[in-house]
């Protein structure tokens, strides 16, 4: 297999360094490109000014576009990509299912129910924002799954089935609310929200997400070696000293929290959490202490690129990001699947 050379620790460090450099580059591009082009030099100066590293003269408009609009958006996109990829990797390992992704615990369906409750039913009477409603819905769905699967103790299959049941239930509730109470415009709004959008995210969203991500990432890295022990299933992990029940519930709750935060902010962006972990595993192998940081970097790059494409593919219009991640992701994934085929 051609993957062997990247499996050494040298390969991992090289990938991580190249990835971080690539991330800085795509974020810079994301800030530079758009209706109003800002040269990369100006981007650097504007960021320098705000960080107190430089004091260059830049036009107010350019500065505002760079700092107030595009940088926060690009950084949120990067963190969403990182978060979804890590959550996907963890759930694939914990549930021992290659099709697991961040929404497998019903979080996205719950978020959509919460969102339509706010948009269409007006629950909360303006005091509850769309994001807060979505977040509460996501947690309600996760609670439902945790209850049905007996806190994850019922085994991987039961957890997946509970997630499917929750998704069906909450999607049905969403559809019910949209068809009975919504008008055409509201239905369109909901659909747009569900497909995901980074429009409207600014620094406050960045700060909230950064806080959640730091905690989430720390918990996940701390459990990286325990996740490795799940390679041969729950019983094997337990026989190697892993407190299976505790690790499961901690990681389910952490992934649900990270995913719920992301979904409530930018909608349910598909595909990143499913595909990036597979691609990274193919490159550097299944060890989680390397897999999780690498997933974070690659997921971040992928999402920022997808955001650039979604803004620039059609002039004057931004495509929902979920469409782009799937359109870009499927060909990449097909290539990986094709190359990873095993000789029979």
């Amino acid at each position: 297999m051609s993957t062997a050379q990247l499996r050494g620790s040298g390969g991992f460090v090289a990938l991580l360094v190249a990835g971080l450099a690539g991330l800085v580059l795509v974020v810079a591009l994301a800030v530079s490109l758009g209706e109003l082009r800002v040269p990369l030099g100006t981007v650097a100066l504007s960021v320098g000014n705000h960080l107190g590293l430089s004091s260059a003269q830049i036009s107010r408009i350019q500065d505002s576009v760079v700092w107030d609009l595009r940088l926060s958006r690009a950084l949120v996109a990067a963190m969403c990509g990182a978060g979804l990829a890590i959550c996907g990797a963890i759930l694939q390992s914990l549930l021992r299912n290659t099709l697991a992704e961040p929404y497998v615990l019903g979080v996205s369906a719950g978020a959509s129910t919460g969102a339509v409750s706010v948009i269409i039913l007006g629950i909360g009477a303006g005091a509850v924002s769309l994001s807060a409603g979505a977040f509460l819905g996501a947690l309600a769905a996760f609670g439902f799954v945790a209850l049905l699967s007996n806190g994850g103790r019922g085994g991987a299959d039961r957890t997946i089935l509970a997630g499917v049941a929750a998704a069906q239930l909450f999607n049905a509730l969403t559809a019910y609310i949209v068809t009975t109470a919504g008008n055409a415009q509201q239905a369109r709004d909901v659909m747009f929200w569900l497909l995901g959008s980074f429009g409207g995210v600014r620094w406050p969203e960045f700060q909230l997400l950064a806080g959640v991500m730091v905690v989430g990432l720390a918990v996940c890295i701390w459990h990286a070696r325990a996740l490795d022990a799940f390679t041969f299933g729950d019983d094997a992990a337990a026989s190697m000293g892993i407190a299976v029940g505790r690790v499961r519930i901690v990681l389910f709750a952490t992934t649900a929290l990270v995913t719920a935060t992301i979904v409530s902010m930018v909608g349910s962006i598909g595909f990143v959490g499913l595909v990036v972990p597979h691609a990274v595993r193919f490159l550097i192998g299944p060890g989680h202490l390397r897999l999780l940081p690498a997933c974070a970097v690659i997921g971040a790059i992928f999402m920022v690129l997808a955001d650039i494409v979604s803004r620039s593919l059609i002039a004057q219009q931004t495509l929902p990001i979920g469409i782009v991640t799937a359109l870009v992701g499927v060909p990449c994934f097909s290539l990986i699947l094709y190359r990873a085929r095993r000789p029979e």
Binding site: T231, S239, I242, G285, G287
Partner: protein
Amino acid sequence: MSIRAENLIWRVGRKTILDDVSLAVEPGSVLGLLGPNGSGKSSLLRLLAGLRRPHAGRVTLDGTDIARIRRRDLARRVALVHQHAATELNVTVEEVVTLGRTPHRAPLAGWTAADAAAVETALAQVGMSGFRRQGWQSLSGGERQRVQIARALAQEPRELFLDEPTNHLDIQHQLELLRLISRLRLTSIVALHDLNHAAMFCDRLVVLDQGRIISHGTPDEVLTPDLLRDVFKVDCHFHRDDEGRRHILFR
């Protein structure tokens, strides 16, 4: 006395899988666990390894109830090799054996010389040192079984439990593996199907049927035509070879 089971009862739903099972193993000896399919051998090994809590009774390790020993501390003492180890991941042999070091490593601790030595020794003991870079998916059933045993040995246990370890192995590897187990001088409990192998390699035997211990003792005491007819529903006679060893011949 190292590991001891006292009056274990284990149920799944309303079905009683293990009914009042007690046993003890001499340190450094090999105990063979015999019984037809569904007699409770795997369940008993799970209880002994602390993976399940018995509904009644207890398992003690040097006199301490294992329910009161931390999972991680227990995993440094006791290792279990499951019957069907399977994964979708493309892990290498070395990565699998490295998993055995899990209970010895703090969550973010580096790789120590002791870890490397344990993995090295374990690979050598099962004769898989030359396979370390090979992927799990490309191994034969027997090779996978040996890698799992190496993984268990990398835990550096004093008690080793194996659930039908000779399944999937050709006769050469079956004998090699059983010789390895008796050579290790660990306190071992091995679930086996082959009665002749049990007689050859185990110091003592326990026979389970429908969750109860039917017979226990040395192989010569336990393996009698009556027991084989009652428990395994086979007729047989015994043949003693030139070196004085007994062989079971089935009719």
